[in-house]
Symmetry: D2
Subunit: 378 residues, 4 copies
């Protein structure tokens, strides 16, 4: 049997993100869903499980039972996908790691840097792989940005201006459905909403592309839409090690923005502009001002990025392919661990370490905001 | 077993289109590859088949053997996917239809209108479903165009201006690889190259979106790049039944165009602009000139189009999803035929009849061109 | 006195084009309006003339009187600007040429190739300068296209695809005001409407940028909007000397298009895309597919084009500047003729010869259309 | 004589901004250049003055002499245009105000809020008009934004995100020519460079469009390009009276940006996006997410904005027209003062009060930055 087996916690009826992970894994057909605990209501798990053709004894009433059972079965799952609200990421991830099972977990990884350190520690001790699904970094064009910055095309980075506005939570009341509800609820989302959902993507995208480490942050976080308790708009100034500066903006009431993660990187020798809503292209501007629009599939795309493309240029790839690329590397690393060929440099996906950085970024911003928008070291 | 079984003819090593069909079908996980004849060289079929986990006795040295065997097995394939060069579409499709197997075939369907009529006739007599994979019409935005034109938003259509330029065959010599080679070879492509590959997409996109029937065409077809025998640039004037007019352009040496199928439809009360390289949006201009950009996922997308979306707006879907949408309807129709719930109005994919229209369009254009660019009735 | 004196025929109350010429000439302050016959109603001419500070004895009841008077005054006008409906271009231009006065005339130049030849002949014999205001060719980016094609950046041109759709005459009845009315009236517009107004711009833009000469045309011209007598949609296939081919489209009922003159030029080594509604940029694609967006003001703009820029890049120039550039060269040539420094290569504006080409293009298209859309030699 | 007479201080050889003002005023032909002191070197003033046809006795060696002479002549200038480096704005403006002459002055108005208050006071006492040329607010689309926000289309404003990056000073050494030099020189530019040149435009654009008053600012200002003493990158967080928040970014080393003033305004019922490099359009997004692109010239443009248009839609207007619109209102107000018809609501241009706001904004930002990026009240 060539395909890996995976399980899923969360992702039951009405979950967009559960479907999204399944579609993305399906794309390459490298793993198959074999076990799950899709809902807090066992009946719903059973119903969905049957629909998806999963054997009944691998449908579980709770994640603890699942972790234990799958960790001891001979044909137990190779990895688990955690797609529950943020509050439960930590205990679930911990349970599966402790059961010796590789983990894929949605972001933000968890609520506190202590939890994050704990997960980092267990994964390291157990020698397990841990994917945190910062989807957007799976795009060929995002990987191209990373590659050409690493090889020096932009020279020293001077400034980064990045943003992630959305408009779907612009109104009071029942907008945003089930998801909008739990995101705005401190019990399920922790101390942050917008910064956790969107800000961590910005932080990760900049870190991944540029390799810059944040030294300190100054954040202003506001809950603006009437009735909201948690932040729905965030401004963050950033200083990186080495002297570069950054400006981040995230918002959930920016009517007209669907999902507008946009990163602009200004170096001494050139500029990169990347926009996740148009992931098939990347704009690279050189020292003489020439504006080059590159498309995925072009000969000039860096080979380590280009190899992830599945279609010729002009045949749009999208969000599933980006997430599929993360899973492709994750699954190949699991296989390589199996057959003894694994090397750390094979890891081409965001790990628990990247997830932990995101949690620390949130903590520092929250502290800055509480103290009147002052600088806080990371 | 909930999943359908499918087989594939063609799609071996180096075939982009074979991978593309597999990825698209994988997306929803509604069918599994169970049999195949991937190459004219049996060893290559065996090698690929093993890699993909197919049982050895369902790997075949030729399509005739495959059609016969799969047509008689109890667990035989539910449908076959034909992804060979154009020259062999007709005999392969015919063989599988005659074996009682539903067919998915790439476009152009075949070489002559006689062949096309033959396939239409057999499929009808046998009560088999026949998908011709005009991929682009699977996009939610393309379906939206069709829906709002049908419900009258644009009023009477006056003119259509559509084009499909590419640049990958702009140079003499070994550009375009294996694919570029067979497309330019009359033995494998028949009497047309560019018009067959790209022009049929234009014809189908306009027919699907507008519902207009072509009355007559006037075509100018040229082989421009040195060394080329078949057309690589085509201009076509069109008159539709009811008086609307159209202008089509396809080209393979238009440097800078990746895959630029673009359809603009001008009605008495508004305009639609649709561009397959940006399939997540569609521009609709109303009588007062207001330019509305709609995105897949918006509340204003017509329900019969919107239902195909898998992700919220701002999370790009692409080419695989478009083709996946064709297969979703095709597979659901096959299942419905099985369980007796099938109705013709469930068909929401291009059929052998659409494929036949494409072949007749090519024939009329070729005739017009041979006679000095005169009007030829369809 | 450094400024030239000019007169105007037409351009009275409600004329957009008269204002446009005055604004454009004002831009550089190289000439001043000193005489005029702005309307067929003398009172209106007097009223406007007073408003604009023109001496009363230089306001005229008809153009014949004006030509004679200004041609004999010592301080007579240096050139006349003709901005009347198309029907009167010929007699007015002829009158002023015969009075020894340089002429600036709107396009289309006149109605017949005989008239055109006549004007060419008189201008040549008299040694007078004759500007035909194909405004769009004044843009720096259009001049850049011309320069880099001339120096060979694109190699041999293979095909040109150009269009000029507008939407302002999409409806029956009183749309388009005074202008819409005379344009649709055969008595004032001659045998063509859309092709004369828009098609001549397409013809001129392609000829200017590429230097290609048209060998023959095949045109389909339709009057589509109910109640219209003259063409409001035109499709034209073109063969140029040397083997390149072209496809032109013009339309007046294309809702959503303001003034969309767009020229795309495909050469063996690259492509140019130019769009008059975004005149500050030009896209140049090189042999390897790299898409370069150049802006007016960049160091890479060809010097003979760049010299016309008045503002740094990012400070948009527009339509007035384009027309102003035509007048700048025209006025400088008139001055040079005065002081004896004139050389023919100083002419960097469309002349009576370009205007005549436009008239011949119209004639050939009309003939092609009348004969059932057949090829007609130019 | 219908035309006003104006004088100019600065704007001699090599000055882009002097030419720009002249071109813009020329556009409508409402005023004529009649006096000047174009350079600190009198010979250069004389040379330029002769070239422009100015009478020799109205060319002056220094601005004090000019103010005095023109203020006492019977045919003295109606207004003066000040286009010198920032350092001299204050004394020159003061001299002309004291001579009873209306003033048009480039921004930033002056160096300190004391100077600004002084100019406000004198202008008020003398009853003189004072235009500060924040050019971009002259665009029809910017005026439309202002009008529809004022009439409530967006509801309460929640946040503003605005930026003005440029790339022309990205390098050390002799980039940017004469202008780049004085801008980077504290003696001529005062305590700020980038924030004065670009930040004041951002501040003014937001204030003009939204009507929001700044309560306090938190600024981070950096001198990044090696060798630079004054700021070339600025991040500013803003709190407005009433609770809305803002984020501003300006930069001079952002390679690839020509002149990218961009304002995005997020209200509870909709969004406006406006970008000065594409001034002919404005995007307005309504509560239901519909994205409307409006063009200058459309029927839906607010009448008080639309009236400034000189050309139909699709005939691009640009920077000169924007500045010309400021001068049009300024000149009409001067005339109205003359003939007694003036009313304050006729003022549709940025005044000395707007200029003073800009100076106070700079002061507050500088203070915030010096004190470690803390909040400073305006």
């Amino acid at each position: 049997m060539n395909k890996l087996a995976y399980g899923m916690v969360g992702g039951g009826p009405g979950s967009f993100i559960g479907d999204a992970h399944r579609h993305s894994i399906n794309l390459d057909g490298l793993a198959e869903l074999k076990a799950g605990c899709f809902s807090r209501t066992f009946e719903k798990t059973i119903e969905k499980g049957k629909e998806w053709g999963i054997e009944e004894d691998r449908l579980y009433p709770d994640f603890e039972t699942m972790a234990k059972a799958e960790g001891t079965r001979k044909d137990g799952i190779d990895f688990v996908v955690i797609v529950t609200p943020n509050v439960s990421h930590y205990p679930i991830a911990k349970a599966f790691l402790n059961a010796g099972i590789n983990v894929s977990c949605d972001k933000p990884l968890c609520f506190t840097s202590e939890q994050a350190s704990d997960l980092q520690k267990i994964a390291k001790e157990r020698g397990l792989l841990f994917l945190v699904t910062y989807t957007y970094m799976g795009h060929v064009t995002a990987k191209h940005a990373k590659e050409i910055i690493r090889r020096g095309d932009l020279g020293k980075i001077r400034s980064v201006v990045a943003e992630f506005p959305q408009g779907w939570l612009a109104y009071e009341g029942e907008w945003g459905g089930k998801q909008g509800k739990w995101r705005a609820d401190p019990k399920q989302s922790g101390s942050v909403n917008c910064l956790g959902d969107l800000g961590t993507h910005v932080e990760n995208a900049v870190a991944t592309m540029t390799g810059l480490k944040i030294k300190r942050v100054l954040a202003k976080m506001d809950a603006v839409v009437p009735g909201r308790v948690l932040d729905d708009n965030d401004f963050v100034m950033v200083e990186y090690e080495g002297g570069a500066t950054g400006l981040y903006w995230t918002c959930q009431y920016a009517i007209g923005h669907d999902n507008s993660l946009r990163v602009r990187i200004y170096g001494e020798n050139g500029t990169i502009q990347w926009f996740q809503e148009e992931p098939e292209k990347i704009t690279v501007i050189s020292r003489d001002g020439t504006i080059n629009e590159l498309h995925r599939g072009y000969g000039s795309i860096a080979p380590d990025a280009a190899k992830y493309g599945r279609l010729p240029s002009g045949h749009p790839e999208g969000w599933f392919e980006a997430m599929g690329n993360l899973y492709k590397s994750f699954i190949n690393c699991i296989k390589a661990k199996r057959d003894g060929s694994f090397k750390p440099e094979m890891i081409d996906f965001p790990t628990v370490d990247d997830g932990a950085e995101g949690v620390r970024f949130i903590e520092a911003c929250v502290k800055s905001n509480l103290n009147g928008n002052v600088w806080v070291d990371m």
